[in-house]
């Protein structure tokens, strides 16, 4: 995929520490349109923390974030959303007591005259997007706590896709899914990629990484081990990076 011109996202020299522990230590990564970049590393390597600086959940202690070459301030999730950055969190970040439509539009509700919620319009839009993503989805009027893992996942994905994301962050999107649903998520990633979105994918399954990603950035102990093009390395090279923290000699 194209790796020319201005990157869609560039996170430059990002550091963040919690109580003296450097969770992310001077890490630089980038992402081009129509590209999937895998973020790999052990638990606690700093992947999720790094990505939360982009989604607005955390604020980096130092470093800059550039979107289309322009430096931007992302202080909270609203700032990230304003930059068309959408996130599918590992925990899904759904309010269990609300229904699918309320979750999909949470923080961005459709309102009618007088600022009153337009629940009917929100449900209609939810039915449309779910009809595309998961045609078997029927449970529109129950709290999402009553949904299966896969259904909950599709609500979280619908939320990210509905608002015309340009940059999508997926934190282990298939961790809780069965084989069929995992396949559906893979297809979705391909489809969104074809539409020109840039996707950061946090993933533990090395096979998924080899299949879905264009490049892989590996982190260890808060530091970036390196970024490689997936089709230039083997899965063993990447595992070596994750485990040993060593960049393979032949990768550029």
């Amino acid at each position: 995929m194209a790796q020319t011109g201005t990157p869609l996202v560039e996170m430059r020299d990002i550091s963040i520490a919690f109580g003296g522990i450097k969770a992310v230590d001077h890490v630089t990564i980038d992402l081009y349109p129509g590209e999937v970049v895998g973020l790999l590393g052990h638990n606690g390597a700093g992947k999720s923390t790094l990505i939360k600086c982009l989604s607005g959940a955390y604020k980096a202690d130092s470093g800059t974030i550039l979107i289309n070459g322009e430096p931007v301030e992302i202080d909270n999730p609203r700032d990230a959303r304003a930059q068309n950055i959408e996130t599918i969190y590992q925990t899904l970040a759904l309010a269990d007591n609300l229904d699918a439509a309320s979750n999909l539009f949470l923080g961005r509700e459709l309102v009618g005259p007088g600022g009153m919620l337009n629940d009917a319009a929100m449900e209609a839009e939810t039915r449309k997007i779910m009809g595309r993503l998961n045609p078997n989805f029927r449970k529109f009027n129950v709290p999402v706590s009553a949904l299966s893992g896969g259904q909950r996942q599709s609500v979280a994905i619908a939320r990210a896709v509905y608002f015309n994301a340009k940059i999508l962050i997926m934190d282990e999107p298939t961790a809780a899914l069965g084989p069929h649903e995992t396949q559906m998520v893979s297809e979705l990633i391909q489809e969104l990629k074809a539409q020109g979105l840039g996707i950061f994918l946090i993933e533990h399954d090395i096979h998924n990484v080899m299949k879905l990603c264009d490049r892989a950035s590996v982190m260890k102990n808060g530091q970036l081990v390196g970024t490689v093009k997936v089709d230039e390395v083997t899965d063993e090279d990447i595992l070596g990076m994750i485990i040993m923290g060593k960049k393979p000699a032949r990768a550029a």
Binding site: T87, T91, N97, M116, L117, K128, G131, R132, L188
Partner: protein, 444 residues
Amino acid sequence: MTEHSAPPNLGPQGHDLQIGPVGRFLRATELDTRMLGMVGALLLIWLGFHLYGVLVNGEGVFLTPRNLWNLSVQTSVTGIMATGMVLVIITRNIDLSVGSIVGVTGMIMGILQVNILPQYLGLGHPAIWVITVIVGIICGMIIGAFHGWLIAYRGIPSFIVTLGGLLVWRGAAFLTADGKTISPVDTTFALLGGGPYGSVGATGSWIVGILGCAAILWVLARGRAARRKHGFAVREIWAEAVLAALGCGALIGAVLLVNAYPWPKGIVEAYAKANNLTVPEGGLFISHGFAIPVLILAAVGIAMTILMTRTRFGRYVFAIGGNPEAAALAGINTRWMTMKIFALMGMLAGLAAVVASARLNSATNALGDLEELYVIASAVVGGTSLAGGIGTIYGAIIGALVMQSLQTGMVLIGYGDGSYRKVVVGVALVLAVYLDNLYRKKIK
């Protein structure tokens, strides 16, 4: 994840052919079965006390216009605050200070309208009650907002902040007037507490009733139109008719009830004298109609219901209760929301203090003592989950009515001694939560 877009599902959710006529009725009308259960329990309590009176004391006095009218007035102070406590509890907090806020704002209002304002405006000036009410509500709001700030921005648990508030503001209520009782309050202000003059009379009640019926029909029609517009399944027309009949019937029943309770003889004579009327032979029948505090509670209940179900604010309250982290990740400023919720709770406590002190026709430093417990109990009996995320305004009001009915009922059947009342109310609280747990497990 296919390209084609499937048409939205228009049918009702999940067919289940094995349901009886009751199930079909509930499904068609979409009535909240939990609410029906609570109303049923309330009616049972009423009937129980009445029958006990008939059988044991030889006279049933519970189901009389007089008692039910009094019950409605007695419920209003707790009910007004319970609507706010729902929001507090939904967001996984608690407010133990509301009774003390009632006490201190009641004292502030008492001093203001009795000792301060008459000096500048003259005794009985029509602006006195307005200024007093506004100041009382704002004082409550400031205290609540301060609690909310400590909780949200300083990270002190709400239990501790409001436990401190319970002590501080009760002490402050004493200190404002060195423990003196301030009485009587401004005569117009006193009307806000109810009583024969503080009620809207027969005609006023009919106006309220008819406006209310029109509103019920409008809400039903509007809901139907919105569903039509988006092609969702609408209720069958008979089900809509049943809902309209139930809502309007209950309201008109309430109007007939409050209009059936006449002014006491003494008041009628005093009123006739003051207005140069002659009382006819059989006495003059002047209806109380709805008491003003009850109308205040109704207005608060409607406003809070709209807030919770139709606005972003309400949606965010539920979201924070369901998953605070998800709410924050969705861009909701959860701290600011917490502060606003406690400020709103404070405002409602200020309003409750208006009603409570007006009803008493005096401000005392004991006003609202232990009220926080009844307010919390009402919200919880009304189905608000202490685990957060679940609760309704109407539930809390019905809960307040249940609690007050138990207290009143015990007095009426001859157990006026406070100890029995406390035992019954305490048992009812635990039992209600237990039954609610069973119910929630069953529907899951």
